[in-house]
Symmetry: C2
Subunit: 417 residues, 2 copies
């Protein structure tokens, strides 16, 4: 099928999805979970094929071991993937929520009602388990999805897609073409041009993928290119807490976007030497005055800088950070507030690891990614970030002329929900 | 000053604006209102200069009388402009609102807090009174503004800008450079390139201006190019109501974006001839099978089509509409619901004129424009559409490792506000 047809079908499906009942959507999610359970072996077999190719690339240094590990589906990941689908059944339907109810005048009532965005174009590198989560999020939020997965996971993705598509086709009332998958680079290029059919692009992958996408489409893009996260150890930071948080934020998953890249230390913090020692013991390489402050190491490497005060820390972060997640460690609550108000990032933390920046940890059930945008959705994006709203106005023959000429007046009375 | 410096200053100001108290912002608005009052004559004089030039252009057919009228400030518009600024003082501060409060675990609390977007790039044709409203909305929502007004209003805009900037500089604690104005086409070109400094572009003007902007920037754009609004007169529509609404929606302000462009009529509606007669008597030219269904006449011209049923009406609107505002006139509530759920537009109305689609009429106090976007903000955009949020996480030393290893568990308990 050509891409235009795929996009048109997705658009048509999106209009039907918008009006699905919560029951049908939850039945669809249960059908997906059941079908994945029943077809685990098919998915493992497909994954084995991908791993075979990937192993060759690891051996010839074309692929990192980290990517290989993310590609590999084991029983644990499979179970988490399936229970992740079921978790969404329990979450409140984000669609058709009344966000505002207002009487404009007698017999003229305005309602702001949440609705799906429409068609999502998802471009993900590797991680087949995350792809399942995205399909599930789209189903629950009534959006169509056109997905392009990473080429390393192509067999796994195909198997998962077929199983999910089959399951959905068995659900009464669930529209055809709600999910589709494309595979080639050319498809991505076409996807980025489809402003008329695709409402939002969500890329998830390396910096260069995201940058490429942002630079090559007029469609809104939700996501982040960089995760340049900072921790500022203030003068009054508790040593043990600073040590634990910094080591966690750098080593618990060094390639995560919410891992810390730069440590800022107050010049009068008393335990700088001990802190450096502890960080080194955790296998982290410290870099003083790096060539670039806006660099994401994605490894056990941590740049550091001694700063005069909390203001210098805030300025450094606003200048070099990527607006992702930044944390202050301090016993001084005023400084904490100053930092959290002054740092212009999606996540501003006090005495906690930057690694908490995650949809699951925030209690969103799941996430499609973390956004550093300043519009629509910021930080970890779950179901709510996949919605927009429409205004429904119920009248009884009202015309604007009467109000413009002063014959009638608006009352603007908020109605209780 | 070069544009880069203007943009950097605006960015710096935006970081300070983000933390202004409601009191300072309201004082600033009052200072602006007072200063406009005290300097009315200066503004009228500047406006007279613009009108002199504009009149020449009207005489030589380079400018329409409609644009001339919009450009002209009289006492009424001036008073409305000033009271519009004061109206914003009364509205709730949209910044620093708690949108979510959740205990993730003991001593680990997450707050989703509304905050400003940052720097707005506003590109408006003509209408100096609306420009004042935009400055006021930006002040109340703590955003910086770089504004490029229409060249026809250049003297009026300069006078208003100087008066407002002067007023703001007299307000204790209000940052410098919160508002700035640029004048040339080259400045617009530069504005569209400033992804690093400008967070949102809001264009307001003709279709070609908005299209040009959308096609030439990577910065998110909020607005609408077209206003192709529809009214569907269903089989059961009450004749008098249909007539009043259609005449209002077409003639009360024909060049408005929320004026109706296409009338769809159910084939079994009994009063089609009478309706046509009434519409013609109101000075409206009816067009059967126009060359294009997606055309905005901005004049007393109305295309029409006889349709089989509500489904055909919905499909026509989703195909040719611009997602702005569409209305059904019917006594059949099921059809009304079907229409309002099925039409994918920012405003879906039952028995009301499309002209109600407006921030003031919705009770938003004011608007920066009407958005047909599917992300961030849709429909009339007031203060809330100029905000985003950040996540503040207050911890007491928590690290992710403890949760990943199962030593600790998230509780995810929503806290009452």
């Amino acid at each position: 099928m050509d891409f235009l047809q795929t996009a048109q079908n997705a658009k048509e499906a999106s209009l039907q999805l918008a009006n699905l009942s919560t029951e049908i959507k939850n039945s669809a999610l249960e059908a997906v979970a059941k079908s994945l359970e029943a077809n685990k072996q098919k998915i493992f077999d497909a994954n084995a094929q991908d791993l075979l190719e990937a192993q060759k690339m690891v051996d010839s240094d074309e692929l990192s071991q980290a990517v290989f590990n993310r590609l590999k589906l084991d029983e644990n990941k499979m179970d988490a993937m399936i229970s992740g689908v079921r978790d969404l059944i329990k979450l409140e339907d984000p669609i058709n929520k009344c966000l505002l109810a207002r009487e404009l005048d007698e017999g003229l009532n305005l309602y702001k009602i949440s609705c799906p965005i429409g068609v999502l174009g998802i471009i993900f590198e590797a991680r087949p388990d995350v792809i399942t989560q995205v399909y599930a999020l789209a189903i629950k939020s009534s959006n169509s999805v056109i997905l392009k997965g990473g080429k390393e996971a192509i067999n796994t993705n195909k198997a998962i897609f077929e199983i999910i598509a089959d399951a959905l086709s068995s659900v009464d009332g669930f529209p055809e073409n709600a999910i589709s998958q494309v595979f080639s680079r050319e498809d991505v290029a076409k996807m980025l041009e489809m402003n008329d059919y695709i409402d939002l692009i969500i890329p998830r992958g390396g910096n260069s993928l995201v940058k490429f996408i942002k630079d090559n489409t007029k469609i809104p893009v939700l996501g982040h290119a960089d995760g340049i996260c900072h921790i500022f150890a203030d003068e009054s930071a508790a040593f043990k807490m600073a040590q634990d948080i910094i080591v966690d934020a750098k080593t618990q998953y060094p390639s995560a976007c919410n891992a810390v890249e730069t440590l800022l230390i107050h010049k009068d913090f008393k335990y700088t030497d001990e802190l450096f020692q502890a960080v080194k013991c955790a296998g982290v390489k410290l870099i003083d005055t790096p060539e670039r402050w806006d660099f994401e190491y994605s490894d056990k490497i941590l740049a550091y800088k001694i700063v005069e005060n909390v203001d210098e820390a805030i300025n450094h972060i606003n200048r070099y950070g990527s607006g992702h997640t930044d944390s202050i460690i301090t016993e001084n609550f005023d400084n904490a507030e100053k930092f959290m108000n002054g740092v212009d990032s999606a996540g501003v933390y006090h005495n906690a690891s930057t690694r908490f920046s995650d949809g699951y940890r925030y209690g969103f059930g799941a996430e499609v990614g973390i956004s550093t945008n300043k519009t629509h959705a910021r930080g970890p994006v779950g179901l709510e970030g996949l919605t927009i709203y429409k205004y429904k106005l119920y009248g009884s023959g009202q015309i604007v002329k009467d109000y413009a000429e002063g014959k009638k007046k608006f009352v603007h009375k908020d109605l209780c929900k």
